[in-house]
Every structure is written in structure tokens, then in C-alpha cells.
């Protein structure tokens, strides 16, 4: 039987973690403002920047700890694995995004500047979780199997790593655009090198856009990365993600207020991405991060689809029936496989492959939100199941 107090505690902790993440995200974004960058792409923080960065990290870690407790408490309260409905699943994904962000992206790769975006992704996941909130309750009989531990958890882990991969892909595309435009305006012969213009020489001082004083070494060293921002439109950056997020929310939830909020958050993120361009790791490195995360998640997703088939065989007596959910996880899988191929095909690697990864990510989102919420099938997470 659901344990009311524990479930309540879990909800409270979830809310605290949610707010903590938001504050941490703001701190990470502020950290950008106190960062300097040289031509070689070496970023350094001012003292204030370092302090703010530490605050952000501390908050993210604290939020993660609270979130973890909330997640576990939910499982204990419901007396089952805490991924039985979309609220819990979203919460789990957000938890993993922050964990992967802190451990892999920030610690292992040393890309702390990306954490703000990953926290934003986690916050968006949690918001959608709140919109889909369900009380800690038991499962319909079909979901009540030990396969749920294996299948659903693999899907959750893979999805969250795909989210990190998407953040890296999107930022790669942004950074690459900046690098290319600067290279082009710098008169450098643009060779269309594999991943962006990362290997091109930085622009000469006199190729800097107007408004930059050519006074001494610092100006020269700051010019090239900052120029990458100058060549990007400050209008399109908030506009495009804002409109997409608002439309998506409007389509999925039909809630204008939520759409406005989601749109504004996405617009803010677009602006942050625009502002962050000079401080982002070079495009080639972002591309590598995107590839490594996606290549890590892909076998997990494959495993998840397979265990799903085994579970379906056990429950419904057929391992594959092209139920919308199954179809969705199939096309997501095919598109990520296409990304992996594109990345090793001449004429596709670089930006084109990245766009394939973007499409694959949208497929993942469709499989999760649209199929779960709107399309009737056996895998009803939202409504009462057939069985």
C-alpha cells in the first residue's frame, strides 16, 4: 500500500531539488559572464567567476542528492521501482541528466560551461513531470513484472544520455556556425573541413568586427572567440527555440500559459547559448562529446528495445506488434543508427550528421510525449491499460 507520508516527503524533496536546480542553473550561466577566453580557446575564470562556478556546482550536487532521496522515497512509498508512470520516469531522466552532466561532462570532460544547459534540460523534464503528476500508486497488472526494472530502466538511462548528447549536438551546431562565419569573414579559405572550422586558424586582428579596440595582446586574444558571437543573430537565437518549445507545449498539453512559460524558458536558453558561444569548447570537441554520449546510449537503447520485446512476449504473447510505442522506439533507434552511420560517411559527417542527431532526438521526444499521451496502444502509461 502506498505510504502517504513518505510519498509526501518525496514530493516535497522533488520541489526543493527543482528550485535548487534552477538556482544552480542561474549560477552556471552567471559564471559565463566572468569567463575570459583566448584565441587558443583556453578559457579562464575571474575570481568571481570561479566562486560563482563553485556555488553552482555545490547547488547542483545538493540538488542531485535531494532529488535522489526523493526518487528513492517514491519507490519505497509505492513499494515498487519508481518508474511506473510518466511523472516518475521524467523525474528519473532529470536525475540522470544532472548526474551524467556532473560526473561526465563537468568532471571527466571538463566542460563545466555546458552544465547550465544540462540543468535547464533537467528543469524542463521536471516541469513536464509536474504537468503529468500522478500519485504514488500501484501498477496495472501488465506493468507489474520484473522486466519493468530492466526494460524501463534501460530506456530511461538511454534517454537521459541521449538528452546530454542532444545538448552537445545543439551547442556544436551553434559553435560550428560561429566558427565558420568568423573563418569566412576573416578571408580564410574555407575548406569545409570535417567538423566545423575548428581546425582553421583564428582570424587576424584586423578582421575583427567593428567596435573592438585593437589595443594590445588582450584584445587580440579575445577577438576571435568573441567574434563568433558577433556573427550570430541575437534575435534568432531566442526566437527559434522559443517558438518550437511553445508550439510543442501547446500541441501536447493545450495549455497556453504553460506554452508561454516553456517558450520563454527556451528563448532564455537560446540567448544563453548565443552568449555562451565564445566560451564553449571548440566545435570539434563538442562534436566528439555528442558522438561519445550517443554511442554510449545507443547500445543501452538497443538493449532496452530487446528486453521490451521479451517482456511483450511474456505479457501479450507476441514479441513485436508494431504498437505505437514499439514503433516509436523503433524509429528512434533507426534514426540514431543513421546518425552513427552518417558520422562515418563521407559527405555526411559534421553538420549533416548533427542534424540527423537532432531529428533522432525529436523522434525520442515524440516517442515519449506524443505517443504516451495521445496515441492509443497497449503501452498506455497515461490511461488505464488494456490488461
Amino acid at each position: 500500500m502506498p505510504n502517504e507520508t513518505l510519498a509526501q516527503t518525496s514530493n516535497t524533496l522533488f520541489n526543493i531539488a527543482f528550485v535548487t536546480y534552477i538556482v544552480a542553473m542561474v549560477a552556471y550561466f552567471f559564471r559565463l559572464a566572468f569567463t575570459r577566453v583566448s584565441v587558443a580557446g583556453v578559457t579562464s575564470s575571474t575570481v568571481t567567476g570561479t566562486r560563482i562556478g563553485l556555488v553552482g556546482t555545490a547547488l547542483a550536487v545538493a540538488g542531485l542528492a535531494l532529488h535522489l532521496v526523493s526518487f528513492v522515497a517514491r519507490g519505497v512509498a509505492a513499494d515498487r521501482m519508481p518508474w511506473g508512470n510518466m511523472y516518475e520516469y521524467s523525474s528519473g531522466m532529470a536525475l540522470l541528466v544532472v548526474a551524467v552532466g556532473l560526473v561526465v561532462v563537468q568532471r571527466r570532460f571538463g566542460y563545466g560551461h555546458l552544465m547550465g544547459f544540462l540543468l535547464a534540460a533537467a528543469v524542463l523534464m521536471m516541469t513536464s513531470g509536474l504537468l503529468l503528476f500522478a500519485e504514488a500508486g500501484p501498477l496495472v497488472p501488465a506493468l507489474n513484472s520484473y522486466w519493468i526494472r530492466i526494460h524501463t530502466s534501460s530506456m530511461m538511462v538511454a534517454s537521459s544520455i541521449f538528452i546530454v548528447g542532444f545538448a552537445a549536438t545543439a551547442l556544436y551546431l551553434v559553435k560550428d556556425t560561429g566558427e565558420r562565419r568568423v573563418a569566412a569573414s576573416g578571408g580564410d579559405s574555407y575548406t569545409g573541413s570535417t567538423v566545423g572550422a575548428a581546425r582553421l586558424t583564428p582570424v587576424e586582428p584586423d578582421a575583427r568586427p567593428e567596435g573592438y579596440e585593437a589595443d594590445g595582446a588582450l584584445a587580440v586574444s579575445v577577438a576571435s572567440p568573441l567574434a563568433q558571437r558577433e556573427v550570430l543573430s541575437p534575435v534568432l537565437f531566442p526566437l527559434v527555440p522559443g517558438v518550437i518549445a511553445a508550439l510543442f507545449t501547446l500541441l501536447v498539453w493545450r495549455a497556453p500559459v504553460a506554452a508561454i512559460i516553456a517558450g520563454s524558458v527556451a528563448a532564455l536558453l537560446g540567448t544563453a547559448a548565443w552568449y555562451a558561444v565564445p566560451y564553449l569548447p571548440p566545435a570539434a570537441k563538442l562534436d566528439n562529446l555528442a558522438y561519445r554520449t550517443i554511442a554510449f546510449a545507443f547500445p543501452i537503447w538497443t538493449f532496452g528495445v530487446m528486453t521490451g520485446a521479451i517482456w511483450a512476449e511474456e505479457t501479450w504473447g507476441r514479441y513485436w506488434g508494431w504498437d505505437p510505442k514499439e514503433t516509436g522506439s523503433f524509429f528512434t533507434w533507426v534514426l540514431y543508427a543513421a546518425y552513427l552511420h552518417a558520422r562515418s560517411t563521407h559527405g555526411w559527417r559534421g553538420r549533416k550528421a548533427a542534424w540527423v542527431a537532432v531529428v533522432a532526438f525529436f523522434a525520442l521526444m515524440i516517442t515519449f510525449y506524443v505517443v504516451n499521451l495521445f496515441i492509443v496502444g497497449l503501452h498506455s502509461y497515461a490511461g488505464p491499460g488494456l490488461v
Binding site: V140, P141, S193, F296, G317, V334, W348
Partner: protein, 546 residues
């Protein structure tokens, strides 16, 4: 893999001089061209996109094999974009994407492309794997390159290096200038894994084809106390494979002894269990429980718990006694808080002959509430369990209720004018309807249970294929080809040991590995007598890691 490589320069061949006849490829050439085109990775890519697009369509357009009812509504125009659009969708086979000829064509093209891709790769892989590691030259020009000094003589130094490179495939060679060298390499699993992974798709295909050809799936609902035999005729819905025939049915009998369902407080079912007995030639063989996620396997047939419902026994007989016109359990399905269903009591006979009156068609329409009460004129559901069942029976009689038509009885519209009586019954109760001509009795309430019975051969093949997919995928993504060389050169009292390496993929991972090998090698070369104090050799600038 695929770290940044500069694009290859392509040199165009010089244009032929003078006028030429246009090249019109013959049929063989065209086939050759098509084959070469199919083998390209970019073609495979486009085919994968096509596959993804097809499944996107199948997600948003209802699929007939999955939800036939919705497709009917789309065709009728009552749901979806309208009947005209539905005709377009039908023409494109969009209601059955995975059974359509064009989906088959994409799959066939993908497998052809796969075949064309794989054969050259097998051959190349066999060649590469057999070839021993090649001696390296120009080691000092490689990005990863270090010189270590040791007191050991060259042979001993190479022996030590060989232990360090224990996990590499290696051999002693002589470099171009006669210096002793170890050539080592690792990472063939990358391509080997990829080949296993891609090859597993054929096995997957084989497993699917076996299942579709020799398998069987049938659905059947039975009331408590009743039974069914595994034969061709009994199933309500059957999907036999192409090569499944009547003789493949096992013929055993399954009797539903008991059915139990328990509910959560929110009235959703918590668990449901059927107790069944298997009989062969009238002998009881086994009694067991079948529940969701716990199917029963008997003689290669798997029996799954699928659905359940209420099954009131209803008897209709002429008032005042006599042979029953109808005596059966009616299987009711859930409709909100109600359980509803219909039964055919009499098919009617418009001209029985002998001057007798024509017999009308008679049908029963039933609705059951398991446990409800009327409170202040409103129906209140107390529980989903049949604690206080009430059966609303409506009797229809008319010359043509439509019972003769092939449509299922549940979708017929009975005219209100043919309603000849209604009664609310409790178990054990009865009522006289149709102006007192007929008695409807409700002796007892049972439940029914729905099973899926299937035979799915090829599952083992699929399981093996799935495992091979994973076994191949993981090294194909994480492993990487790299080569190392160790050279030892006598220099007076000491030996210069050169360690150099290249990686074809994953440069960052290799930088770490190279540093590790360097450190272990250094320790090994120090041997029993530490050589830490040897004058440091200026090492080339190390690659920045990450």
C-alpha cells in the same frame, strides 16, 4: 572512430577529346550500376531514413492489424481527417504500413545493401586479421612518440616491453635499418564486432520469417466451468502462419475451473488469475494457474491470460415452463462501470411450414452492475466486485433484427419498437416478459476469462540474434584500432628505447592509453635497479589530452 580527417582531394580524369557516342548502359551494366549504388553507405543511410519515415507514418495513422476499429472509423469519416483522405491513405497502404509492398521493398533494399556492404568487409577483415603486425618506420614522426633510456641490453629491453604489451597482438621484427623492433596492434574487435552486429540482422530476419511462417496465434474467451479444445474451429480470432495447418493444433482441452480478480481501491484491476485444467483424451493432465506475465506452456503452445469479464447465466423459456429456448452464459464486456453484452435467443423462421406462425428473431440485451446502489436518484458504484449484482435484461423480438447478417451482434441497431420487455434481475431471480409469453431467468453469475493461445517458433533464433547484435555492437563502438612499436637501439652503455603509436579512431582515448603504456614500460625498463636518475631525454611535446 571518424575523428576529423581532411577531405580527400579528388582529381578529375581529363575529359575525353572529340565527340563521343552517349553511353547507354545495357541491362547488365545497369544492374551493376544499381548494385554499386546500393552498396554505398549513403544509400544505406537513405534507406534507414525511409524505414524511419515509414514507422513515423505508422505511429500517427492507425494501423489495421493493431487497432482495426479506429481504422474503420477513419474509413467511415467519423474519426480522422475524413473519408476522402482515408481513401488516399488506403491507396498508399498507410493503414497497414508494415504489410505494404513498399515497406517490404525498403526492407529488401536494405538487406541487399547490407549484403553488398558486408561481403567486401568480410574479405578485407579476413585479410587484415591474418596479416601480422607490420614493422613501423619513421617512428619519430608519429604524434605519439617517446624515447626512454635503460641500462638493459636491447634484447632484454624488448623482452620487458613484450610483457608490457601483453594484451597486444605483437611480433618481433626488424625495422628497415636492421634495428630490433616489436610491432604490436590491437582493436580488430571494432571491425569484427561491427561484422557480427550487421550479420546478426540476417539471423533476426530468419527468426521473424520462421515465426510468421510456422507460428499460430488465436484468441478465445471461455466462461468458468466451460472448456475449449485447441483446434482450428474454436478460436474467436486466429492468425495462423502461412505453413501452419489444422494438423498442427495439439487437440488438448483447456477447462477454466475458476477465475479470480482483485481490485485496487481505485477500481482498476490489481491481478487476475485463471485456474485451468488441461485434459488429453478426457484425462486430466495438469491443473495450474495462468496470470498476466505468467503464461502456461504446454506442448509448445503458450497460453496467456489476456482479458476477463462477467458471465451471467441466462435462461429464456416459454412462460409456464417447457424447454429452454436459450440457456447459456453470456460473456459481458466492460463499458465504464457496466458490463454489457448481447445474445441471440432465436434466429427466427419466417415460414416454418405446416401452417404454423412465423417465429420472430429474438435477442437479449444485457447490462450488469456488480455492486451499485441508487442514492438520491443517482447510481453510485460501491465496488467493482460482484457483491450485489443487478442484471438489466432487455428482450427484443422482431421479424428482422439483423441476426441473420454477418455483422457481430454487438454492432446491430435494434429498433425501439421491437423491445418487448425489460427487467432488473438479481441472481436466482426471473421475470416474465413479452406480455407474459417468455420467462427470463438469471440463475447465477460467473466470470469469463480470455486467453491468447500461441505457438511462436523462431524465438530462440531471435534471442540469439539479439545477443549477437549487442555482442557485436559494443566492441564496434568502443574498441579502436591502434598500433604500437617499440624499438631498442644500443647507445654505448645504455639503450634507447623508442615507443611510438598511432590510433585510427578515438584519439583522446588513445592518448590516455599511450601515456599508461609509457609509464608501465618505463617502470619495466627500470628493472631491478632503478634508473630514475638517468639523464632525462628531452621528450617531444606530448599531445594535450582532451
Amino acid at each position: 572512430m571518424t575523428e576529423t580527417l581532411p577531405p580527400r582531394e579528388r582529381v578529375d580524369p581529363p575529359a575525353p577529346r572529340g565527340p563521343r557516342l552517349p553511353d547507354i548502359p545495357g541491362p547488365v551494366e545497369t544492374l551493376g550500376l544499381a548494385w554499386r549504388r546500393l552498396r554505398k553507405m549513403s544509400t544505406a543511410l537513405v534507406l534507414l531514413f525511409a524505414l524511419a519515415l515509414a514507422s513515423v507514418v505508422a505511429t500517427f495513422v492507425p494501423q489495421e492489424p493493431v487497432i482495426a476499429r479506429t481504422v474503420e472509423l477513419w474509413r467511415a469519416g467519423t474519426a480522422g481527417p475524413g473519408a476522402a483522405w482515408a481513401r488516399v491513405l488506403d491507396a498508399l497502404s498507410f493503414f497497414d504500413v508494415f504489410g505494404s509492398w513498399w515497406f517490404l521493398a525498403i526492407t529488401a533494399a536494405l538487406f541487399t545493401s547490407l549484403t553488398g556492404c558486408l561481403f567486401p568487409r568480410y574479405r578485407a577483415f579476413a585479410r587484415v586479421v591474418r596479416r601480422p603486425p607490420a614493422p613501423g618506420r619513421g617512428l619519430d614522426r608519429l604524434a605519439h612518440h617517446e624515447v626512454l633510456r635503460t641500462a638493459l641490453p636491447p634484447t632484454a629491453a624488448l623482452d620487458a616491453a613484450e610483457t608490457v604489451l601483453g594484451r597486444y597482438r605483437r611480433r618481433r621484427v626488424e625495422a628497415v635499418d636492421g634495428v630490433a623492433q616489436i610491432a604490436a596492434e590491437r582493436g580488430h574487435w571494432r571491425e569484427g564486432g561491427s561484422l557480427i552486429f550487421h550479420t546478426a540482422f540476417y539471423l533476426l530476419l530468419v527468426g521473424i520469417v520462421i515465426g510468421h511462417s510456422f507460428g499460430f496465434t488465436g484468441q478465445i474467451n471461455v466462461a468458468e466451468g466451460s472448456d475449449f479444445a485447441d483446434t482450428t474451429v474454436v478460436y474467436d480470432q486466429a492468425k495462423p502462419g502461412r505453413f501452419w495447418d489444422a494438423g498442427d493444433h495439439r487437440g488438448f482441452v483447456v477447462r477454466l475451473d475458476d477465475f479470480d480478480v482483485s481490485y485496487h481501491p481505485d477500481f482498476t484491476p490489481k491481478d487476475f488469475v485463471s485456474t485451468v485444467t488441461i485434459l488429453e483424451d478426457g484425462q486430466e493432465v495438469r491443473t495450474t494457474q495462468v496470470r498476466v506475465n505468467h503464461p502456461l506452456v504446454y506442448r509448445g503452445m503458450k497460453i496467456f491470460q489476456a482479458r476477463f469479464g462477467m458471465a451471467p447465466r441466462v435462461v429464456v423459456r416459454p412462460a409456464g415452463g417447457g424447454d429452454a429456448l436459450f440457456d447459456d452464459r453470456v460473456l459481458l464486456t466492460q463499458d465504464g462501470p457496466f458490463w454489457v453484452g448481447r445474445a441471440k435467443v432465436s434466429a427466427g423462421n419466417p415460414s416454418p411450414g405446416d401452417g404454423r406462425d412465423p417465429v420472430p428473431q429474438i435477442a437479449l440485451d444485457l447490462a450488469l452492475v456488480p455492486d451499485a446502489a441508487i442514492v438520491d436518484g443517482e447510481l453510485r458504484i460501491n465496488s467493482p466486485e460482484p457483491r450485489n449484482p443487478r442484471l438489466a435484461a432487455s428482450l427484443y423480438a422482431g421479424q428482422d433484427l439483423g441476426l441473420g447478417r454477418p455483422e457481430p451482434i454487438s454492432s446491430l441497431e435494434f429498433p425501439q419498437s421491437d423491445l418487448v420487455g425489460q427487467a432488473m434481475l438479481t441472481p436466482g431471480g426471473s421475470a416474465d416478459l413479452a406480455n407474459g409469453l417468455l420467462t427470463v431467468e438469471f440463475p447465477e453469475l460467473d466470470q469469463w476469462s480470455g486467453f491468447q493461445v500461441s505457438h511462436a517458433p523462431g524465438r530462440r533464433v531471435l534471442l540469439v540474434a539479439g545477443m549477437l547484435v549487442l555482442v557485436g555492437l559494443i566492441p564496434s563502438l568502443y574498441s579502436y584500432r591502434r598500433r604500437l612499436w617499440v624499438e631498442a637501439r644500443r647507445d654505448g652503455e645504455r639503450t634507447d628505447v623508442v615507443l611510438a603509436g598511432v590510433a585510427l579512431q578515438r584519439q583522446t582515448a588513445f592518448a590516455d592509453e599511450f601515456a599508461e603504456v609509457r609509464d608501465t614500460l618505463e617502470a619495466a625498463l627500470a628493472g631491478p635497479a632503478p634508473l630514475r636518475h638517468a639523464p632525462a631525454v628531452p621528450t617531444p611535446q606530448k599531445e594535450t589530452r582532451r
